[in-house]
């Protein structure tokens, strides 16, 4: 756990608080906004810092423990910052049958990370995924919103290079939306 940030610099900006509050009318309880709030923070900061938890709890009128309890159930949310590109290599059965384990291993070698790790330059976080629902394109990789379909070992170098470009675009705010 990182040391606490100074109390004068809240993690949630006034805009984020307003965005969370804007969801109040949609749900009969505040607690239901836990996941949307966590997603909002995660999308902006690429992680959910510990300091954000009591702030979210305050907006939702909950105990920080309730937020933390829910958040840690979903392995999706991390307390350490990830890369600008978060990539999942699917390892479930349809992808595994078509070489996903080998793709994941080569991608780890190419990026010098273990599954779940982030490259030294902070650009790419590489994880394994369980069934991404892209079985018709096995083996599949999801990198932020970009889908790499039917990936062969020969394409791994190129895809890693593309993910680096994607990460730079994200970092300097010039990313092209995928839709």
């Amino acid at each position: 756990m990182t040391t606490a940030t100074a109390p004068t610099t809240p993690v949630l900006t006034p805009e984020m608080v307003a965005a969370i509050q804007a969801l109040f009318p949609r749900y009969p309880t505040r607690q239901a906004i836990t996941l949307p709030a966590l997603h909002m923070v995660n999308a902006k900061l690429r992680h959910v810092p510990m300091a954000a938890i009591p702030e979210i709890a305050k907006v939702l009128e909950l105990s920080p423990a309730q937020i933390y309890d829910t958040m840690t159930f979903y392995g999706f949310f991390k307390t350490e910052q990830g890369g600008y590109v978060r990539a999942w290599v699917c390892r479930s059965i349809s992808c595994a049958l078509r070489g996903a384990e080998e793709v994941l291993e080569k991608m780890c070698d190419t990026l010098h990370v273990h599954p779940g790790g982030t490259t030294d330059d902070g650009k790419i976080t590489l994880e394994f995924g369980e069934c991404l629902g892209l079985c018709d394109f096995a083996p599949a990789v999801l990198a932020n919103e970009q889908v790499y379909k039917s990936v062969s070992l020969d394409q791994v170098d190129e895809i890693c290079a593309l993910m680096k470009v994607q990460a730079e675009q994200q970092a300097n705010g010039t990313a092209i939306p995928t839709l």
Partner: protein, 453 residues
Amino acid sequence: MAEFEPVLTANIHKPDSHTLPVYEAGGGYQAIRKVLGEMSPVQVVDLVKASGLRGRGGAGFPCGLKWSFLPQNHPGPFYMCINADESEPGTFNNRILMELDPHQVIEGIMIGCYATKATTAYLYLRYEYPTAYRRLQQAIDECYAKGYLGDNAFGKGFALNIYMHRGAAAYICGEETGLIESLEGKRAWPRIKPPFPAIEGAFKKPTVVNNIETLACVPHIVNRGVDWFKSMGIPADPNNPRDPGSYGPKLYCISGHIEKPGCYEMPLGVTCRELVERYGGGVWKGRKGKAAIPGGISMGLLSEPEWDTKLDFAGPGKAGCLGLGTAAVVVLDETVSIVDFLHNSCRFFAHESCGQCTPCREGTSWSERILYRIKQGKGRLKDLDLLATIGDSIGIMPGTTICGLADGAAWPIKNALKKFRGEFEDYIKRTNPTGYANSQPVEALEVIGLGAH
């Protein structure tokens, strides 16, 4: 078989199929207008009941019957939850519908909400579907702009809001009460039933949870009628009063070792072999098939000689599988080691067990470790008995868990041991010639490498 006309996928090949103008040009939003203009909610429930539509999410529960369980004189509010957490390995039919024809899904939600008097619908979408998220949100926005959603939808006094709610990469959220817990902002721990969601669901109110494909069928039932829907599929077995039959079109997914992986629409009841050979272009690379998952990995395995099994709601069960599940077929060719298959399956369920019930949490984790040990050449014949014990003791069926995740974890183990036991024994003897007969306790191998989690 008479020539089959696809309906659920009729739009998906059109340019901009995900937009409102294209959907309406193909007759979209006529069914909801008909419903709002001519039918009472009870009539809609009765219509869907009469059609025999069964849930497409895995359990196959009759949809109209589920709707009819809502209490009559309840002050409300009633909620609709749409289960778009599709995460069953091999399954992607809902992704196709949401990405390529989101308005068809929304029209189904509208009719479902009218029938169940729900004024708020939460569409619980798995996080890993960003394109579906954007297109559904865009479609919902289009509907609000056109007056098709809101307090007075279609100018008929019909009030409905649809909100997207994104998951966070947890398989268990596809279980309907796990989904509700997750929606409420808690751990997705499935609830003990009863009470069923129809009585006490989201926010303690009567709630219906329906799958995307199930709802997508509803506008077509309204437009084309019960007779049309029942003209497809496998009729109820007259000798089995508990069999509701398998009617209507179904989106079958084929993946794995197949020439043409994809999503194919056809009437319920196609055989696995027909699906593989006629639609999937056969087993890839000219190889022979070894086995196929009939409907998502939790349904177990059909060995190649069993591929003439009909993929309707009753068929896979007759071959010892858990059921039709999501009708997602995954083909294993003759080169696949059954050890590798089962290790992959056990690893998945160990990763996705929610941890609430001890038999599931521990059983899935032990089975993964045993399979890993076998895979690494340290297996013993006794390990197969241990696996069988786990397979027989975790799940709703032996009465040890709250939800069916553990049954889904157990079934591949049971089927693989029953149908491929000889291969397991050969593998263990070949890879562990000096230790295979050992029946004393052995140290667990540390699960390392890419399988770590």
